[in-house]
C-alpha cells in the first residue's frame, strides 16, 4: 500500500519544484518551495525516517520560508518596466525546462539506463537514531555547534552598524 501511495508525494515534489522555478512571483515561488518541502516530509515518513522528516518540516518548510520572505520584503521589488522585460525573458528561458524534465523522466522510468536498485538488507538491523547521533557520531554534533556559531557570528558581522 505504501509503495503505491508514495507516488503521490513524489509527483507532488517534482510538480512543486517545477512550479518554484517557473513562476514569476518570488513570494509564490517561496511558498511553492515550502510545499515541496512538505511533500519531501511525507516521502521521508513513508521511508521510515521520522526524525529527519520532522526536521525537514520544521526547518525547511518553516524557518527557511520565513528567511526567504524576510529577504524579499527587505529588498527592492522590480519596477513595472523591468517586470515586463523579465516576463518576456522568463518565457524564453524556461520554456524548455518541462520538456527536459519529461524526457529525463521517460528515460529513467522506461529505458532505465543501467539501473538495478534493490534493498540489500532489512531496515530493522540498524540501531535507533538517538544512539547514532549521541554515541556513534558525536563529532557531527561538535561540527553542527561550530557551524551554528560561525553562522551567528557571520550574521552579526554582516548587520553590524559601522561607527562613524
Amino acid at each position: 500500500m505504501t509503495n503505491i501511495l508514495i507516488y503521490i508525494p513524489l509527483s507532488l515534489l517534482v510538480l512543486f519544484a517545477l512550479f518554484t522555478v517557473m513562476i514569476r512571483n518570488l513570494l509564490k515561488a517561496v511558498i511553492s518551495l515550502a510545499a515541496a518541502s512538505a511533500s519531501l516530509t511525507i516521502i521521508m515518513f513513508m521511508l521510515n525516517a521520522p526524525l529527519a522528516a520532522v526536521f525537514e518540516l520544521s526547518v525547511c518548510a518553516g524557518l527557511i520560508t520565513v528567511i526567504f520572505i524576510s529577504v524579499i520584503s527587505l529588498t527592492k521589488p522590480l519596477t513595472p518596466e523591468e517586470e515586463i522585460l523579465e516576463v518576456r525573458k522568463r518565457i524564453n528561458r524556461y520554456i524548455y525546462l518541462p520538456v527536459i524534465v519529461i524526457i529525463v523522466a521517460l528515460l529513467f522510468l522506461f529505458i532505465k539506463p543501467g539501473l538495478n536498485f534493490s534493498i540489500n538488507s532489512s531496515p530493522t538491523n540498524d540501531i535507533n537514531v538517538q544512539d547514532v547521533i549521541w554515541n556513534k557520531r558525536p563529532l557531527d554534533i561538535l561540527g553542527q555547534i561550530i557551524i551554528i556559531l560561525a553562522g551567528v557570528l557571520g550574521v552579526v558581522i554582516l548587520f553590524k552598524e559601522s561607527k562613524k
Partner: protein
C-alpha cells in the same frame, strides 16, 4: 519504487541546475540551491533505505539541514547588504557597476 524515487532525485537535480545556470537574480540562485538540497536529502534517505542504515542517514540529513540553514542565513545577510549597496538583485548589473 526505488527506480521512481531515484528518477525524482535526478529530476530535482536537473531542475535545480537548470535554474542555477539560467537565473540572474540572487534570491532565485538561493532557491535553486534549496531545490538541489532537496535532491541531496532524498538521495541520502534512499541510500539509507537501500543499505538498511536509515538511522545513520537520518543523522546525516539532520546535519545537512543545519548546514543548509546556516548557509542560507549568511547568504541572505550578504544579499541584503549587496542590495543596499548596489540597489539591484541582478548579478550582471552588480558586477558591471562602476564605482
Amino acid at each position: 519504487m526505488l527506480v521512481t524515487c531515484f528518477t525524482v532525485v535526478v529530476l530535482l537535480y536537473v531542475i535545480g541546475f537548470y535554474y542555477l545556470v539560467t537565473t540572474r537574480n540572487l534570491i532565485r540562485i538561493l532557491i535553486a540551491l534549496e531545490v538541489l538540497t532537496k535532491g541531496v536529502t532524498l538521495t541520502l534517505i534512499l541510500a539509507g533505505k537501500m543499505t538498511g542504515q536509515i538511522a545513520t542517514t537520518q543523522s546525516m540529513v539532520i546535519t545537512l539541514i543545519i548546514i543548509e540553514v546556516v548557509i542560507l542565513a549568511v547568504a541572505a545577510g550578504i544579499i541584503i547588504g549587496v542590495v543596499r549597496h548596489t540597489g539591484s538583485l541582478d548579478v550582471r548589473k552588480i558586477f558591471n557597476k562602476k564605482e
